[in-house]
């Protein structure tokens, strides 16, 4: 492998590759500038260059890598799962439940999406496959009352964690965001600490709008952490880099498929290498 002096043309290529990974033009330009500052005009192989980019990105991502752990006392730890339509919330809940089960925690699900057709049936199928209890209400019913019942049942039965599904909602829908605020409030009625975690599920195929999703859901629902789904495709999730820089929210895990064991801990070095095109 030959070396070459790091020049503007090469830096352009790096910047473009970062943009194609969904970092967005601003974050991509910042990384380019850093690279240029450190290495411009110096001899570098393509491999070294990619490793340097990966290291830059990893340095941004490492501080936000943080697993989701069951630590609440008293139990249950209530995990509220939110996000835009179709991002992968319900499937991610099944994956989280499976994950906690492997660690011998008792899990219960609450079917807080009473709106979308067969959303309850979808979560119930997962509950069935997992062999975990589910609290559900009628289709079209009040989600706040379902989640209240959930906290009550989980508390009474000494469950370790209650994972709450919600209907997908776009962050610019005022009414739906108000509903989420209400769900949050009602969750705290029996236990002021609840929800202990508010997990925003982001779709890796989404582009820069993910930043607006984080911004608004954080404001309205007090997001405490992120999970990114659909990283088994060709989307690289570079928006996480901009998100880490701007919001510093913990990233708990990534989804890499449709089955319940398709959840992985968030590995900042691996994700950085994928974005930089080394892995």
């Amino acid at each position: 492998v030959g070396t070459a002096k790091l020049d503007d043309a090469t830096l352009d290529e790096v910047e473009d590759a970062l943009i194609v990974s969904d970092l967005g033009p601003a974050a991509a330009a910042r990384i380019r500038a850093k690279l240029s500052e450190q290495r411009f005009g110096r001899e570098i192989t393509e491999r070294e260059l990619k490793e340097t980019v990966a290291e830059e990105i990893a340095a941004i991502l490492r501080p936000v890598a943080k697993p989701l752990e069951i630590v609440a006392f008293p139990r249950p730890q209530v995990i509220l799962v939110i996000g835009v339509n179709g991002s992968g919330k319900t499937t991610t809940i099944a994956k989280l439940a499976h994950w906690f089960q492997e660690d011998d925690y008792g899990v219960m699900l609450a079917a807080g999406d009473t709106f979308r057709a067969a959303a309850i049936g979808q979560l119930a199928t997962w509950a069935d496959r997992l062999g975990v209890p589910i609290v559900r209400g009628p289709q079209g019913g009040d989600p706040a009352s379902v989640v209240f019942d959930g906290v009550k049942a989980a508390t009474d039965q000494g469950i370790d964690t209650l994972i709450v599904d919600t209907a997908g909602r776009l962050q610019n829908k005022r009414e739906l965001m108000d509903e989420l605020e209400k769900i949050r409030r009602v969750l705290g009625r029996l236990n002021p600490e609840a929800p202990h975690d508010v997990v925003l599920v982001l779709d890796a195929t989404n582009g820069q709008n993910a930043l607006s999703q984080i911004e608004v859901f954080k404001q309205v629902a007090g997001v405490t952490g992120l999970i990114m789904t659909k990283l088994d495709g060709t989307a690289r999730g570079g928006v996480l880099v901009a998100a880490a820089e701007q919001y510093g929210l913990p990233i708990h895990a990534i989804g890499v498929g449709e089955q319940m064991d398709d959840l992985r801990p968030f590995d900042p070095d691996l994700v950085a290498r994928v974005i930089a095109g080394v892995a």
Partner: protein
């Protein structure tokens, strides 16, 4: 969060005007602003490149440089070109004038909005065109996917193919064709499972369904929040099945929707509808003019 393009370009040209007449280089500088605006709107990079080349050529070739308001001129050229690339004036509807049942097949990534859009289109064809439509779900992957379409059918008052547990997609498609012929339906809507374009087995299955059903329309359903991956998705799906059009969902969100341009450009197929909500009447004809303004942040 985003400056609109006119302001941005205005700034560039204000700065430049101080230095005298505008040159080709000045236009190129303005185009760098347009480039960033498009990337922020999630237009895919290769599409941005081609767009910028086309617009630069036009802007330099015209009398923009000598005009009094070059900034506005450039914005107009950019806007016109964008509208043109998004499909120009006039809405392209569905082409269903075949021997019935006309099959409409919906394909796309997981969670893009296929099932909901299937029901929206069936309802639209029934109410606006008086078509007798039947829907069938070929989704044997996602839990309760077939139940979802059944519920939507009840809401839209559109027939759905009875569910046979365990039957595989190609066989469901055959049964749906048979049933809609026997019961003289005009249109058969086939909802399919979401699939990643890198999933060879599922892509092959989709192709097999298309072979059996010979659809009059194959619609790629795409989330308007999609980022740079739009190019891969568009290329892979159009390589596997004969797409006839695109439906862009979640246009009720606040995404700039650059995926519209990427999709249109890479597939070469018209964007036939926009999904604008979760309810079954939230379906609109795609409006290139409005979407162009949105992509540019104007």
């Amino acid at each position: 969060m985003f400056d609109n393009l006119s302001d941005r370009l205005g700034g560039v040209f204000d700065r430049l005007r101080g230095r005298g007449a505008l040159s080709e280089a000045d236009v190129r500088e303005a185009m760098r602003e347009v480039r960033v605006a498009l990337l922020e709107a999630d237009v895919a990079l290769p599409v941005v490149r081609r767009f910028i080349d086309a617009v630069t050529e036009k802007a330099i070739g015209q009398d923009v440089l000598r005009s009094v308001t070059p900034g506005q001129q450039v914005v107009k050229i950019v806007d016109d070109e964008l509208v043109e690339m998004l499909g120009g004036e006039g809405h392209e509807g569905l082409k269903l004038d075949v021997k019935p049942p006309a099959v409409v097949m919906m394909v796309g990534l997981q969670g893009s909005g296929k099932t909901t859009t299937t029901a929206k289109i069936a309802k639209y064809l029934k109410e606006k065109h008086g078509k007798k439509a039947m829907m069938a779900s070929l989704d044997v992957q996602r839990p309760a996917a077939q139940e979802q379409l059944k519920v939507l059918g009840e809401q839209a008052d559109v027939a759905t193919l009875p569910i046979v547990v365990g039957q595989q997609p190609v066989d469901i498609a055959r049964r749906a064709l048979e049933a809609s012929r026997l019961q003289s339906f005009d249109v058969l809507m086939l909802d399919t499972a979401g699939r990643l374009h890198v999933d060879e087995a599922l892509m092959a299955e989709m192709n097999a369904v298309a072979q059996v059903a010979s659809p009059a329309e194959v619609l790629l359903v795409v989330d308007s929040l999609t980022g740079q991956d739009a190019v891969n998705v568009a290329q892979s799906f159009s390589g596997e099945v004969p797409l006839t059009g695109v439906v862009l969902t979640r246009m009720d969100g606040d995404a700039r929707g650059g995926a519209a341009l990427s999709m249109r450009h890479v597939t070469g197929k018209p964007i036939k509808f926009a999904g604008t909500g979760e309810k079954l009447d939230a379906l609109e004809a795609f409006d290139p003019k409005r979407v162009a303004g949105r992509i540019l942040g104007m």
